[in-house]
Symmetry: C2
Subunit: 246 residues, 2 copies
DNA sequence: CAGTGGTCTAGACCACCCT
DNA sequence: GGGTGGTCTAGACCACTGG
């Protein structure tokens, strides 16, 4: 039997919960079921589609995950308008610098230094406490694009791998160094003029604009365990985000 | 022994599938189960926890949704390292301008105009085609913060509500006007110097930096149905994002 | 109270993967 | 073939909501 026949068979024998979900989705998108209105109960849907309640619930869960409806215990399932103002943003050097393959990272500095007042405040440590400082220059097609400063609390006896240092996304680097399975992070994006040293490092004219990305990494308990500031040449860098891909 | 444990679990407050998920999560986060390794099979977990396979699968689905594992048909369930480089960004005026309640929006312009070359390209329409142009000024505590330009293809007979015009998030505005249930969007963030007119509108000194947010809205079929450019004073505006919470 | 969703069972059969 | 997850049943009981 050919593969094509197999595929066609498969597409005509979709699971019951999936067909139910598609059916409801179509009725929602067409406007037949409006946001806020209540869907038929699980029992009614089960009877109507000739399936068991578990199967109905599986279909409803699928639509709920995709943002089409919300189920409320003791009340019913209700059509919801999808969130349209939620965007997903991916950080990480390879993503930040575009799909271009010609990306270089130059490790400018790696030292244990006493925390400056700013770093101490961001990391929640005493001023002057030992922190690891990493300075990197990111280039695309040989041209400087961004200057990246990263700070982590110093942990004795925990090595940093050279490869990770240069290329890992900051949350991954922090997670690895602090031996945490998961971390949370925040990002603040702002525009400002490049400072003198930044302009020099980025080979940019004085007074040119820069995009500033400040990222703070938190342990699951809420303790800050990393802080970074990346400054990018405004004329060579844009940050991209896409609406929720669920 | 399994029966006793089962009884205690059942009389406790939390559902069995949730307890199972928490148990596995703890074992994953502690490092006992490492990323890439295979979890016990559904049948094994069912026997071990004294529950049915459906319950086990419900627990695994919960962890999968949260990014702790991935199930593969015919092979098994595998621990996955959580995505740490994924951030969530919320747009919308009230969010953009911070939690401050003192936010004003001034509608500067609302006209049907012929599409400029730039707008025509962004919206995928003929140059000179009729488009709706909206210009808004956003103020916080009485001070100009951002200047927002929005363009939509002109649809005859479809009204725009004044209230929506001023305050709606752009994707919502587009969705309502184009009568679409859901839309997709992209965002590009860049830094640049304010143009002369922008600086004037924002009461900013010439040559000061601005954060530029360009948003394109797409219909589900991929057709662009809206484009906006918001320019913000660099000294009064930062964009904030948070790592994806589940 | 009746109606709703939430959890759960103890199986069944299917689709898939590897050997 | 033997192991895996995926789907599905026909019920059961529980928790919650609102009149």
């Amino acid at each position: 039997m050919g593969a094509e026949v197999l595929m066609e068979e498969r597409s005509s024998f979709l699971p019951a919960y999936y067909r139910l979900a598609e059916d409801l989705r179509a009725r929602i998108e067409s406007g037949e079921l409006k946001p806020g209105s209540m869907l038929p109960s699980v029992a009614q849907l089960a009877a109507r589609y000739g399936v068991s309640t578990m199967t109905v619930r599986q279909g409803l869960a699928l639509l709920a995950k995709r943002g089409y409806l919300k189920t409320v215990q003791g009340k019913g399932s209700f059509v919801t308008a999808p969130r349209r103002d939620l965007l997903a943003l991916r950080l990480g050097d390879s993503f930040l610098l575009g799909e271009s393959k010609d990306v270089q990272v130059k490790l400018l500095e790696l030292r244990v230094v006493p925390a400056s007042p700013e770093v101490a405040e961001k990391l929640g440590v005493e001023e002057g406490a030992k922190v690891i400082a990493i300075r990197r220059l990111l280039l695309r097609e040989g041209v400087p694009v961004a200057l990246d400063l990263r700070f982590l609390p110093y942990l004795k006896g925990v090595p940093l791998l050279e490869k990770e240092l240069a290329y890992a996304a900051f949350p991954d680097l922090v997670a690895q160094h602090a031996e945490l399975f998961c971390v949370k992070s925040t990002l603040e994006v702002s525009a400002r003029l490049l400072a003198k040293e930044e302009a020099e490092a980025l080979a940019a004219p004085a007074g040119s604009p820069g995009l500033c990305l400040e990222q703070t990494i938190f342990a699951p308990d809420g303790r800050p365990v990393g802080w970074s500031r990346m400054v990018c040449r405004g004329d060579r860098f844009t940050l991209k985000a896409v609406s929720h891909p669920f």
